[in-house]
Symmetry: C2
DNA sequence: AACATGCATTGAACATGTTCAGAATTCTCT
DNA sequence: AGAGAATTCTGAACATGTTCAATGCATGTT
């Protein structure tokens, strides 16, 4: 359904098309940021980029697909940043903080159009549905970042399989919180993230304790079983 | 933003308008069920109801609002059913089962258009956004049902405040699962619900144990604090 | 009956996302 | 250079959600 990304890793010279594509993307994002996603029309974008309306559709299958492409960039940026910032950090809490806050930083200014990512949440068939098949590879990539972040010694086998999916879901929640967060500088979302991570890290620590572990273990096993049954782990 | 519901609790005689409204609603839902939400146009609905296109908009501010009205009915049905079925049931697990499965039963056949409820998930301003201000009262109502279901002796004060929001969110997840569930009779979702409820009930039981409680208590307190900070409890 | 008032309904017009047949341009190979 | 192919781009047309001025219609009032 998606146009081939063909992000010329092979050629050094940008073809004319790549240039136009980048221009349309850049201008669209500027307009989304400036005026918001809904009120910005494809005609606005095209005319601001000095091309015909149809040109935008030559490069992007839909208006939301522009945001989706932006989000691909975000994922790449995030992956790179995380690899860098995680070096030398060994404490689980710290590592989780890196992953979540760096994502938040990258995305912070784009609340006005991040919501477009959720446009097809209720449409399981749509290629851009957050939970759909069309976005599976991006989901897997994103979960790989979380898997990397939690790769610290002392974590149970079950937890290692459960957490990537759980954290991915939690991070979706973070983005939603950001979108709805009217507080200055989105303070509330930052605070929420820290609170959740504190709790989570403590809970994980606690669950590894010799006293508590026997009680928690069967739960982990069952959760993992359920995730596997539904294709999440 | 919404048209006054004015569900004539005062008058016995349906005015002409009420009749048309009901007709449009009925026919719209039939078409949604039969062909799906997206492919059914407002023109289809209007012409099937033998009215002009504009008539539909006299009663419903948008296509999604039709589904929203349907969902109001669902909530009412659910509330009634739960009140009935909860009588005499005292075990937490059983009560949770009643609430979740009765909802599932009510909604089961309508997967084709339930997704419309999530159309504005990413648009915090929209009156029909699941998490938005425009749907707050419905959320509160729904949470009240869960509050009722968990009103059993032996539940900590914190849990009583945390669970309604948590269960409401979980039940949203259930609906999403249903929408994406291709398995025959949506077996997977039923199984998932049972699995989650089993775990939850066990976890709640365990957390009330004298041995475990001291460990869990501070977590509950912090979670509650966070929910309160963000307006969820 | 004639009139006034407000609810109900119409259908054309509008806005905007999207499609598409073709034109323009660029690239490739001889 | 020039023919042909592939890529890029155009802009009008289309589909559909939505708006709205105008009209009909029922009901109560004089």
């Amino acid at each position: 359904m998606f146009k081939e990304v063909s992000n010329g890793s092979s050629s050094i010279t940008k073809s004319a098309g790549e240039h136009t594509r980048a221009l349309i993307l850049k201008i669209a994002l500027e307009l989304f940021r400036l005026r918001g996603f809904e009120v910005t029309t494809m005609r606005d974008i095209a005319s601001a980029a000095k091309v015909a309306t149809g040109a935008a559709y030559y490069y992007f299958p839909s208006k939301e697909a522009i945001v989706s492409t932006y989000y691909d960039q975000v994922q790449r940026l995030h992956a790179d940043k995380v690899v860098e910032d995680l070096k030398g950090k060994t404490a689980l809490r710290e590592r989780l903080g890196v992953v979540f806050h760096s994502k938040l930083e990258i995305v912070k200014e784009d609340r006005r159009f991040l919501g477009a990512l959720f446009r097809y949440t209720g449409d399981s068939e749509h290629p851009l549905s957050v939970f759909g098949k069309g976005t599976q590879s991006q989901r897997t990539q994103s979960m790989a970042i979380f898997r990397e972040a939690i790769s610290v010694p002392g974590l149970s086998e079950e937890m290692q399989q459960i957490l990537p999916a759980a954290l991915w879901l939690a991070h979706l929640g973070m983005i939603l919180s950001l979108i709805y967060d009217e507080s200055e500088g989105q303070r509330k979302t930052h605070k929420l993230v820290d609170g959740v991570l504190d709790l989570l890290a403590q809970a994980i620590d606690l669950s590894s304790t010799v006293f508590v572990r026997p009680f928690v273990q069967p739960f982990q096993t069952k959760v993992l079983q359920m995730l596997q049954d539904s294709g999440w782990a």
